[in-house]
Amino acid sequence: MFESIVQNLFNALQWGSFYSLIALGYTLVYGVLTLINFAHGDIFMVGAYIAFFVATFFLATLTSAPGWVVLTITLPLTMILTALVGVTLERIAYRPLRRKGANRLYVVITALMCGLILENGNLALLGASRKSFPEMIEKVVYTFGMVSLTNLKIAVIISAVLVFVLLQFIVTKTRIGMAMRAISYDKFAVPLMGIPIDAIIVFTFVLGSSMAGLAGLLYSLSYPILDPYMGALIGWKAFIAAVVGGIGDIRGAFLGGFLLGFVEILVVAFFPSTFRDLIAFSILLLILVYKPTGLFGVAKTTKI
């Protein structure tokens, strides 16, 4: 009994890590621009595909290199390329609307469309068949009694925690983080401080999208089947997790992500797995009913 609890705990932490890494991108962009970037789930999907192509390419060209070398190359490259996709969306879709002072509704609809374009662009270019992600590192299983842990699971959890610490530091302690918080409060005054507002926004998209790329790589390593719609449901879930945690707050994104991970695993432990999403989201709904601003949200004042 105890061992199965520990086992489930680790599973919950792993899923929570995926949700948290994605939720971050929603919360960062929302925190700065009060824009819900609905394309973010699909940026995660694009990240997974980028990881797939980069890994396959280097596995084929560096045949003699050990897997961890390929992974070490794949990781930063995936994050950079995914960040580029996020920045491109900002540049061609969101920035022109911002310049024209468009109503938020139009920006949100644009984000939804961008997500659909990414999904269907992928479908058109690569076809409907699924891709299976290559195995780069050998899976090592550590067994403690009935509890089994893989090296990958540990890496996923550690990555999420490191990312949290890093981002929390950037947002609360650095000048660029200060600028991000300032934009969320009063966009008008930011250029008056000599701060190039577009550069800060691009930086925000770089952070969010590169973390989605990281999540895409880690997810594909753990569940190596890729399809164009893989980002849709997990993206929605991460978005809800960010809202439950208190959107705009980094701590909220992490707490929300892990909370969702735990709730899901907990439900599956007691109910048939088809009940998972139904019960999990009902619980989150209840949390929002009692605290509509989310766990860390303070109505309108603190963003990010």
């Binding site: 310049r99 024209k100 002072g101 000048r175 200060m178 600028a179 918080r181 300032a182 969320s184 409060y185 009063d186 008008f188 005054a189 250029p191 008056l192 401080m193 000599g194 701060i195 190039p196 507002i197 004042t301 603190t302 963003k303």
Partner: protein, 240 residues
Amino acid sequence: MLLEIKDLVVRYGNIEALHGISFHVNEGEIVTLIGSNGAGKTTTLHAITRVPPPEGPKIHTGDIRFQGRSIVGVEAHAIVQNCHIALAPEGRHIFGNLTVEENLTLATFSRKDADQVARDYQRVYELFPRLAERRSQRSESLSGGEQQMLAVGRALMTGCKVILLDEPSMGLAPLLMYDMFRTLKKLNEQGMTILLIEQNARLALKFAHRAYVLDTGEIVMEGSAAALTENPEVQKAYLG
């Protein structure tokens, strides 16, 4: 001439807000623009600091020159960075979610002269001791007067040579208003060039060297502050 505005015509969409105004500010001066609501005072300051649309106006024709060079094509953040013109906007626009000190630090975002930055903190805290007392407090908890001090302090922290002030006395009690203007005078005596907009024309004219009267997008009068204070038309329209 440090700052020169020549035949400036600006628009918001299709609506022309300034119909070709010209004025200038010399180094070391306090110049004030007076005029009633909607005369185009704030628009003028937004045009100079290149505040981007939708809030800022579009320059249609005319020129804005700083130290002889046109700054019409310069972006808002670069005006602060490279031209050293800062604006303390109407309504203060402080970052309420940041502390007082973070607000000041943010204004040094693009500065690389660390020594001078350290001296500027000191100067701001000396000019406004209240800010020093509240440096680690969230700035939205400051009183209106303190927020105004912060807005001016922030403009100073940008390291600029010219500051444009949009209604620095708005919402302040009369006593604090005088304090603010005395502080501005002190700053000016230390070498800061100031372009000032003020509803309270009497107060502005008392402290400024020169003034321009703006009426519905046109400059209708100009002269030394003393001369304009004596002018019967000005007295009737703005000092009455």
